[in-house]
């Protein structure tokens, strides 16, 4: 499974990590390519500070409270579960890093590689599932 993670909002990052942790648990080879707003999720503190989009950002606290109450994992917890499966590779988009002035040191240690579109497409061509989130 190859996923382009373009979005950086809480509501969009959840499906990414839900699918990645589930796919990884099913022994699928999962590749996550974080680009544009998605790259913010790979910055230190990025997952913790992800918000709902637009004006709904004001409701982020309430949403996170409901998430915790229902027992759904937080994004950082989901990332940890994703890594546990040992079937998920996380890539940061090199061009986005340049565009948004994000140096390597600002990224979380869970990032496996910094690559470009060609690397991602080469992987995506062989994947059974290709998604843009």
């Amino acid at each position: 499974m190859a996923i382009i993670v373009h979005s950086g909002t809480l509501d969009m990052l959840y499906p990414v990590f839900m699918l990645a942790s589930t796919g990884g648990s099913m022994d699928m080879d999962v590749h996550l390519f974080f680009t544009f707003w998605g790259l913010n999720a790979l910055k230190k503190g990025g997952l913790e500070s992800a918000k709902l989009p637009g004006v709904m950002s004001l409701g982020t606290g309430m949403m996170k409270g409901k998430i915790k109450k229902v027992g759904v994992p937080s994004l950082p917890e989901l990332l940890e579960m994703t890594r546990m499966t040992e079937n998920v590779t996380i890539y940061a988009c090199s061009t986005t890093m340049e565009l948004m002035d994000v140096p390597k040191e600002q990224l979380i240690p869970e990032v496996d590689e910094i690559v470009g579109a060609a690397s991602f497409l080469a992987i995506a061509m062989d994947a059974d599932v290709q998604l843009f989130i």
Binding site: T22, S25, M26, D27, G71, M81, T85
Partner: protein, 78 residues
């Protein structure tokens, strides 16, 4: 199934997707082939999720049962 020895009990009641599946992966990673685990879940999705997981990972469901809101699966690790 009363004759099978359960090596690990996995209580996933109250947990929602993907937790039961993630817990299954973690448990089977740490178990030996041939060992048996019993999973109990309340997530309605697990009724189809667990067989899908077992099919893709090559683990065997020896027994499954639905009683009220609880889904029980006895799984042999490959």
């Amino acid at each position: 199934m009363s004759d099978v020895e359960i090596d690990l009990e996995l209580d996933c009641r109250g947990m929602f997707c993907p937790m039961p599946i993630v817990k299954l992966k973690k448990a089977t990673k740490e178990m030996q082939p041939g060992q048996v685990l019993r999973l109990v879940a309340t997530d309605p999705g697990s009724k189809r999720d667990v067989p899908a997981w077992a099919d893709k990972t090559g683990n065997e469901i020896l027994y499954s049962n639905e009683k009220g809101k609880e889904y029980t699966f006895i799984i042999k690790v490959s």
